[in-house]
Amino acid sequence: MTSVVATNQTILVVGGGISGMTAALEAAETGKQVVLVERNPYLGGRTVQLYRYFPKMCHPTCGLEINLRRLKANPRIQVLTMAEVTGITGGKGNYSVSLKLKPRFVNENCTACGDCAQAVQTEIDDAYNYNLTKVKAAFLPSIFAYPQRYVIDPSIVGGAEGEAAKAACKYNAVDLTMKEETVTLNAGAIVWATGWKPYDAEKIVYYGYDRFPNVVTNVEFERMADPRGPTGGKILRPSDGKEAKNVAFIQCAGSRDENHLRHCSRFCCMGSLKQTHYVQEAFGDEGKSTIYYIDIRAIDRFEDFYQKVKANPNVSFVKSKVARITQDKDGNPVCNGVNTEGYLRYATAHDLVVLAVGMEPEVKGVSIPAEVMSDSSGFVMADPANAGIFGAGCATNALDVNRAVQSATAAALRAIQVVNKVARAEG
């Protein structure tokens, strides 16, 4: 059984992405007890799935490594992975939270040697790579995963493959008897940092994401550019593996659209500007990028980044929301629309089209097991009637990593104030 030490002076952080990790660390480093709950088998959320950050083009592994070092050094944080909150009762200063913990089938003896994966043949969709590829059913979610422990997929437990994985382990780390657990814990304050998910591109019917193999999303493109991704960092188009040297980026794919996401997702303009660097770096002057946009929203200091991309002769900008994507006989996606600067109609073929899909709050349509308000886009809002639960990061708004961290720090401060009050009352 998993044991959790928690009192009504504990801060519960739901979601172990960059926001949740930040909130947990900031609170714990002031001396508070923190329980950090994450649904995936690893921490880092969507941030670790990025190849590079804007505007400095550095790798997320760098910043995340610092956070993980802080985490490992701090005895006040207890991390629960593969855990989901199923219910919250009570009120500010005295919540009772129930959690469902899924079995990992691998215990803390694991050294991440990979022998279990060698013994297993079954493959499952690789969620870390947005299902662009497959992984063994005994897998390390990513090279950078924390905790650095393998996971065994339930599909092979109870069969010969599961037994083979167990037999292959030299450290007695595979435990096929693990069961789903339910845990209840106390908390004085809760930070809700459940993050975002990419908008379902299939819903934008006229872009044909589900019909044309060479139409991908920005998060998939991020994995394609990563040397540890499904293509080994080569920008190859899915239909025939040809190098995609002529890439189109379609902005506001879902965002700022009353039929899809009402809000501006804020990060996608910078995300696409950043991704033109990947094309340039991969193919030099042969790599051409075209950005189709309504207006480029590169706010404050990002303006410099935008101006530099604009000055690159290999990147062109077309002021137009693409009306339709078709496919020519060679399998090239063709962007159709009207360039609003001069009202010129175009039908331009590219090797690959990247849809800059927006952020949808992960909690949208999911009932949060407590009284929490949400705005018209489904983002969590501060509810004065429930002053012990605070949203952080992309659960509250469409934010880039930088702003998500700021939001998380603010949420941590509010949570600290609540548990401080509890501590004073209890003397």
């Binding site: 506001c252 009353e258 629309g337 360039n339 109609r345």
Partner: protein, 216 residues
């Protein structure tokens, strides 16, 4: 009619956006456009030479106060009501209806272009359909075929002969309609009364708008 055009131009002076907002049906949506170009890109009539200004351009021209350019444009008449723009518009602007609203307003103040084919179709269809409450397809087709004279009408009719016969054989077209027979609605005088009432209300409504608008 041109009188009304001058009256309106004078009343709204340099505020054509306000004129459209107050006088054209659905005109209040014009300011919601964010100029993304999705409507123009989605429009299937782009191949037609008469399509001088697509919807998004019409909206910007209105906002820029280009009264003459808009009222002289063929753009709003070219709409085929396919509703691609309407369903795709990210601001949920009812583009199709706005285009019809502007066309109707231009027609009302006597600024509709002469010999505009879709305008001709609309008028012919309306007269035909309201006569008996149901469309007389043979007479409608005839009036469209022969709109440019007898010679071209006969030529068009000969070209479509096979299709017409097919429709007749399949029971989808009644040749007796040519003589004013064929399907009608049950209560023709009832329909006429209803339409007369509707026209009376609409005229009243528009007269009131024309009287009071722009005077604040």
């Amino acid at each position: 009619m041109s009188n009304l055009n001058e009256q309106m131009a004078d009343r709204y002076k340099n505020n054509f956006l306000k004129e459209i907002e107050e006088q054209a049906e659905m005109g209040e949506w014009v300011k919601m456009c964010m100029q993304c170009g999705l409507c123009s890109g989605s429009c299937p009539t782009h191949f037609h030479s008469g399509w001088d200004h697509p919807p998004q351009e019409i909206f910007m021209l209105i906002r820029a106060g280009k009264r003459e350019e808009v009222l002289n444009s063929q753009g709003m008449y070219m709409c085929t009501s396919c509703y691609n723009c309407y369903v795709r518009c990210p601001r949920k602007v009812p583009v199709t209806h706005v285009m019809h609203g502007i066309a109707e307003y231009a027609y009302r103040i006597g600024r509709a272009p002469k010999a505009q084919p879709t305008l001709h179709l609309s008028k012919t269809f309306w007269t035909n359909a309201t006569k008996y409450g149901r469309v007389n397809e043979v007479q409608l087709t005839q009036s469209l075929y022969f709109k440019d004279g007898i010679g071209s009408g006969i030529k068009k009719a000969m070209e479509m002969q096979k299709e017409a016969l097919g429709l007749v054989m399949a029971g989808r077209l009644n040749p007796m309609e040519a003589l004013g027979m064929g399907h009608k609605c049950k209560d023709v005088s009832g329909i006429h009364k209803m339409l007369a009432k509707a026209e009376e209300l609409e005229a009243k409504n528009k007269a009131a708008k024309a009287d009071t608008a722009g005077k604040e």
